[in-house]
């Protein structure tokens, strides 16, 4: 018996009648090769697909190029003395239906390929006189060597429907005129890359804000990541010193602040730092100031306040995470350094920091990504403000908070989608570059 590969081409070329027929009637190859229940299941999928396409799918696809043309009309009803709205096309629903249909088609194509291969495989098994698994055996296998299929199916379906489809849908919005601007909320059109040009164009209003926000986002992410990292590490080292008494107590004090839900502490901080909030009141009571400090109303103050408060939130986290790793540093390294007469500062920069950077590069990248996408700190503390007149982005807005404002508050969906894509591009570049240049990637050998 010649040993042909199991693929669709060979299935069509060398398959028997059942296998070839299953190219049109899906599942027939299985029904004809002793796997009747599975075959019927696949056939039902095909029938459901055809039913869906006739009922909705073809219409959805045909609407995709135009995204709808019928405008919502307003008709004066003389009898009731009111304006009545006639239903027009809703481009947003058309786009969603179109995206879903494309996914359904992709799904059926994948199923078609799988069942073609499977039919051919079954055919070969029968030809070679092998045992064809019965339904019962198949089910048993789903709990044994195919357990991953049982376990991963539901999570994957969840991710597909509530992450991948929304993402594709949102990305497609970036290429449309879907926005409150020019009243395109009900009916919008494809717009090519015009919105991208607008966002990247430094001379336009949106473009100017974009580069501004991008600059601050990167400055913020660098400060937030590295200050937290280094200061958190120093704190962990101070607490873990041999001579420090009451280690558990100190650790408890710091961990307590992250045990309280973050959104609660952030809202409290926001209130405390208001012009007539507790901090200003306290400083006035102590006689240190006479007029309130402009924590949120001045651009520079707001930016520094946010970074400082983020330290308050982030340092305990870092402390918690690095404590275990710090204790893994080989003691001989320290002893050797002390023998050579190195002081604590030198030891930190020559031994501790390089070792930690080596081990925790993936963590640092993750926390950098997390900080670029750090929504709640900015949104709850400053709300992105102070905002200048005519801008949609405030002076402390990150790309994510601006994205939120643009979509949820302003309904500039297309620009919001462009910003989201740009964030993704930036994060991808940062991740790839740092990961490629990190010592843990270049040299997978142990740190020495």
């Amino acid at each position: 018996m010649e040993n042909r590969k199991i693929n669709v081409k060979n299935a069509l070329k060398y398959g028997d009648l059942y296998t070839r027929l299953s190219a049109a009637v899906m599942g027939l190859g299985m029904i004809g090769h002793k796997q009747i229940a599975k075959g019927i299941g696949v056939l039902v999928c095909e029938i459901a697909f055809i039913y869906y396409m006739i009922n909705k799918g073809i219409h959805s696809l045909s609407m995709m190029p135009s995204l709808g043309t019928v405008e919502q009309g307003k008709v004066w009803n003389e009898a009731k003395q009111i304006y009545e709205y006639t239903t027009g096309d809703n481009s947003q629903q058309i786009l969603l239906a179109g995206v879903v249909t494309l996914f359904v088609i992709a799904g059926i194509v994948a199923l078609w390929i799988l069942q073609m291969r499977h039919s051919y495989k079954l055919q070969k098994m029968i030809e070679e006189g092998e045992h064809v698994p019965t339904l019962k055996e198949d089910i048993r296998n789903l709990f044994d060597k195919n357990l991953h299929i049982t376990l991963m199916t539901l999570p994957c379906v969840g991710i597909l429907i509530f992450n991948i489809v929304p993402l594709v849908y949102m990305i497609s919005m970036a290429f449309t005129t879907y926005s409150k601007e020019g009243d395109h909320l009900m009916l919008f059109d494809w717009d090519g890359i015009n919105q991208f040009v607008r966002v990247l164009n430094l001379n336009g209003n949106i473009g100017r804000q974009f580069w501004h926000v991008l600059g601050w986002t990167i400055v913020w992410a660098i400060f937030a990541t590295f200050l937290n990292y280094i200061l958190g590490m120093i704190l962990a080292m101070i607490i873990n010193r041999k001579d420090t008494k009451g280690k558990a107590f100190w650790r408890f004090c710091f961990v307590l602040s992250i045990a309280v839900p973050q959104f609660v502490t952030l809202m409290i901080m926001n209130i405390m730092l208001q012009p007539s909030g507790a901090i200003n009141v306290l400083l006035k009571e102590l006689g240190l100031i006479t007029t309130s400090l402009p924590f949120w109303s001045n651009k520079i103050w707001a930016r520094i306040t946010i970074i400082v408060i983020n330290l308050w939130i982030g340092i305990p986290y870092t402390m918690l995470q690095v404590t275990g790793i710090l204790q893994n540093i080989p003691g001989e390294l320290y002893e050797a350094a002390k023998m050579d007469g190195a002081g604590p500062v030198k030891i930190f920069f020559r031994i501790t920091l390089p070792y930690m950077l080596f081990v925790t590069t993936p963590y640092l990248i993750a926390s950098f990504v997390g900080n670029i996408n750090n929504f709640s700190v900015i949104y709850l503390l400053s709300g992105g403000g102070p905002t200048y007149v005519g801008d949609t982005a405030g002076q402390t807005d990150l790309l994510v908070t601006w994205l939120y404002k643009l979509t949820v508050d302003q309904q500039y969906y297309n620009i919001g989608a462009v910003i989201g894509i740009m964030t993704f591009v930036i994060l991808t570049i940062v991740t790839l570059v740092t990961y490629r240049n990190s010592s843990s990637y270049k040299n997978e050998e142990a740190f020495m």
């Binding site: 509530f162 409290i268 308050w312």
Partner: protein, 294 residues
């Protein structure tokens, strides 16, 4: 040996060493005050007798329990007890689903070898680079198309939003599973155990810390999220979760009346979550160092 010890003790008593130690403890003391002060302040505020958002003194002038009583009895404007039950129901369902998703995916990726394994892990990494809020609006539209954005269906919508994509957050659990020796599984398989039995009877009991960690994090998520909840609930006040309720109490129209109640609510929510967190922090640390090592 003995001489080394003696010099060590001498060093510890040397004036310079003592000075350093005193300085370190003073520094830690100051830092601890900075870190604990806001929490201490919010607890005091929750017992404050004077109403209103801002007062002229740092410490309250009088103390009362009324804020807590109002929080749990005033059902007209902001119905906190209702929000509490809403969140509890969502949290329990979410907890069951997410725990199943996370552990299933983590176990499959750690223990099974299949074609889709590497692509899945790469895909999860790529999806993680998109800002979460980008999908939020689209998720709302999809839920709307499914009819899950009206009335009590909002609850189902929220449960789906919180748990559907948790299969992407497998890293910590997988890191932990990776540290369990495979030889244990292999021995069980030789004894005739199926993969399912290995998963439920061997790996799960051995990975108890990470199971508890996953259960707790997925239980806490609905309590602390206000963004997704806000977008999906919109103005349906009877479907609000605790986080939106607390957030609302600080908005212009409510802040004067509700500020001290906000403090009370914050304390009420924070205590159980803080206890859960303090309990699970060691699992967190273990998971972290495991994931980094792997």
């Amino acid at each position: 040996m003995s001489t080394v010890k003696v010099t060590g003790k001498k060093n510890a008593r040397s004036p310079r060493r003592i000075a350093v130690n005193v300085l370190v403890h003073i520094l830690l003391g100051i830092l601890a005050v900075i870190w604990v002060l806001p929490i201490f302040w919010i607890v005091l505020t929750s017992f404050r007798a004077e109403s209103g958002a801002y007062t002229n003194t740092f410490l309250p002038q009088g103390y009362t329990l009324n804020n807590y009583i109002k929080l749990f009895t005033d059902r007209n404007v902001l119905n906190f007890p209702k929000m509490f039950t809403n969140t509890l129901i969502i949290a329990i369902c979410c907890c069951i689903l997410s725990t199943f998703f996370v552990l299933s995916v983590a176990y499959s990726l750690s223990r099974m070898r299949f074609k889709f394994r590497k692509p899945y892990m790469n895909l999860a990494m790529i999806l993680g680079l998109f800002p979460g809020f980008m999908t939020m609006i689209a998720q709302y539209f999809i839920l709307k198309a499914m009819g899950l954005t009206e009335g009590s269906a909002i609850r189902i919508g929220l449960i789906i939003v919180y748990s559907a994509c948790t299969g992407l957050g497998f890293q910590i659990a997988k890191g932990y599973f990776d540290t369990i020796p495979r030889s244990i599984d292999e021995a069980a398989v030789i004894d005739g155990a199926t993969q399912w039995q290995v998963f439920t009877r061997i790996t799960m009991p051995l990975a108890k810390p990470i199971v508890i960690y996953t259960v707790m994090t997925s239980f806490i998520a609905p309590w602390v999220d206000f963004v997704f909840a806000k977008v999906i609930c919109r103005a349906n006040a009877d479907q609000f979760t605790v986080a939106i309720g607390l957030w609302n109490m600080l908005q212009k129209e409510y802040i004067y009346q509700w500020y001290t109640c906000f403090a009370a609510g914050a304390v009420v929510i924070s205590i159980p979550i803080a206890i859960l967190f303090l309990y699970m922090q060691r699992f967190y640390v273990e998971g972290m160092s495991g994931a980094v090592k792997g």
